[in-house]
Symmetry: C2
Subunit: 378 residues, 2 copies
Amino acid sequence: MGQDRRDFLKLSTLATGALLFSGTNNNLFANNIRTNMKSSKLKLKFYPYTLQLKHVFTLAKSSRTTTPVVLTELEYDGIIGYGEASMPPYLGESQESAQAFLAKLDMEQFTNPMEIDKIISYVDSVTMGNTAAKASVDIALHDLVGKILGHPLYKIWGLEKSKTPYTSFTIGIDKPDVVRQKVKEAEEFKVLKIKLGRDTDKEMIETIRSVTDKPLTADANQGWKDKHLALDMIEYLKENGALYIEQPMDKNNLDDHAWLSERSPIPVLADEACQRLVDIPKIYQAYNGINIKLMKCTGVKESYKMIILARALNLKVMLGCMTETSCAISAASHLSPLVDWADLDGALLINNDIFDGTKIIDGKVVLSDKPGFGLTKI
Amino acid sequence: MGQDRRDFLKLSTLATGALLFSGTNNNLFANNIRTNMKSSKLKLKFYPYTLQLKHVFTLAKSSRTTTPVVLTELEYDGIIGYGEASMPPYLGESQESAQAFLAKLDMEQFTNPMEIDKIISYVDSVTMGNTAAKASVDIALHDLVGKILGHPLYKIWGLEKSKTPYTSFTIGIDKPDVVRQKVKEAEEFKVLKIKLGRDTDKEMIETIRSVTDKPLTADANQGWKDKHLALDMIEYLKENGALYIEQPMDKNNLDDHAWLSERSPIPVLADEACQRLVDIPKIYQAYNGINIKLMKCTGVKESYKMIILARALNLKVMLGCMTETSCAISAASHLSPLVDWADLDGALLINNDIFDGTKIIDGKVVLSDKPGFGLTKI
């Protein structure tokens, strides 16, 4: 299965490729490829990597300077798909738990990487949780399949490259002079995302408004305790140019979010309250939209289904991320022509990205035309 | 753009094909292909065709010996995708209305067939109705894209070929000796579908049970007028081996269907009550499942979304058809690994099929491995 086999594959591909464009089909060659492909197996590799954040990252309940990730490689017949699990500590996964999960997987049982549904169902069935680790396999598998098909995923999914949104850029909670500096550094971005949910919220907004009048998006990360105060804050945010608000209150508080979503002048989005597909029917009447993240929902396959479900239930859709390399960001970005808003700045917040793929150009998500998610290792 | 251009494309494909399998990417060639592809346009052709039924087809409200269809061809760069609109007269479309719709379409505005979402959105926006005519474009476009990618659609969608279901075979309403003869002719099928909704329902079941004990499925086509009588009939059907019942009562009668679905010992499926994606959120609480047909819902793109939505809302899913050639049947069949039950016998009910594609072998749906929907003209 070494050089000879690869040479044979090249030769077969040459033949079928040419025949495709001349509009006929050559069963002899096609069968040879299939027969040969069946003898190969999916091989999974993974290793830990630590993302170095450019700024200390402060949320409502924690702050940190690194994010642990695990990078995956799924190999089939010499073609490698890349994946990533990003694990901000507050979500309950770690490099250890992700690697323990990945070590459990028997990927070599699969001899046909094109059977994505079957493979993803298996991976999901192995444990209840481990959504980020599962996403790392889903991403690698889609990247691999895109490379096998020879096209970027957005194209295989029938999407328009030009429909990618602008991404917001996150300004973390910090002292006023640091916030002002961050806003200046974010000059190329058209929309700024503000982390709220603390008693300094208005001060944060005022600081930002002192240096820019760009539209804002706001994420309270469950930080507000009272629905009336939340509504007051949202009205204040609306007056200050906010486009939407994420997860104002506790994720388990459906009634108060329903009350708020009915009255809010801007869409109220579920983030912590909406992890996976099964959550949408449970929460959709209490929110105006959802924030989908690969790491919460096990990857692009389930994200795609969540977008379709959310649309059918008249929910707005945003696509978010963790701090991630351009690997996971590129994967999410291929779905972004389908959503209302994107917050895909994760790779811009780190110093040690090791993938080249989707780029953010003048604030807009720009997909690569290379096969798969267009990933190359830097 | 004649022979020279095609030769150039072949050459470029040879190069990128080989490079794909050696795991690198050649931008020069890739860009050349893209640039050249952009200069081509989608070209739509269509023509009427009349299906000759093997048996007089009797439903609750009508009977007939032919079904009018319109066949479409969508051409791009010498590659042709095939499509079909089937129009049983009771649905309100005709060869004239379908052709009038297709004549309105400006498909030449599209220079990239891979942008399925954009193209399908345009086609759907041209009129409110014409779902079968729209499906004929959707089917042709997917077939074309599959041929461009060089793979069957089920594979591009990541589905398992072996997961295709058995199809039911429809035994139309007829005199007892004809029914017995039809059941004998249907020997290879594992499940028989019975059209009910008339006052001869029990006689029909008894006739069938006198010659076979195969499982049945039943379709009342809105024929029953009273929920209590409907429940009695369903219990009788369950005792006689029925797997599910389609559209027992009037499609607008949600309350009685909700009452029935709660009590029925077998799943109650919406057919006439569920045409398109937007119908599912309206009716899902009144039924246990839905029957998806390409001709009702504008094609495979929307069918795929309907399957995802139905699954998320805990609905059973069956995939049905009209009398159709193997063109539309093949298109539906590539989605069939995703559903619980299939009724894809449409091409078996006619004498003058003009496509070779998906086959029914010993009652099971067997997909072709040729690109697109695997269609060739007979």
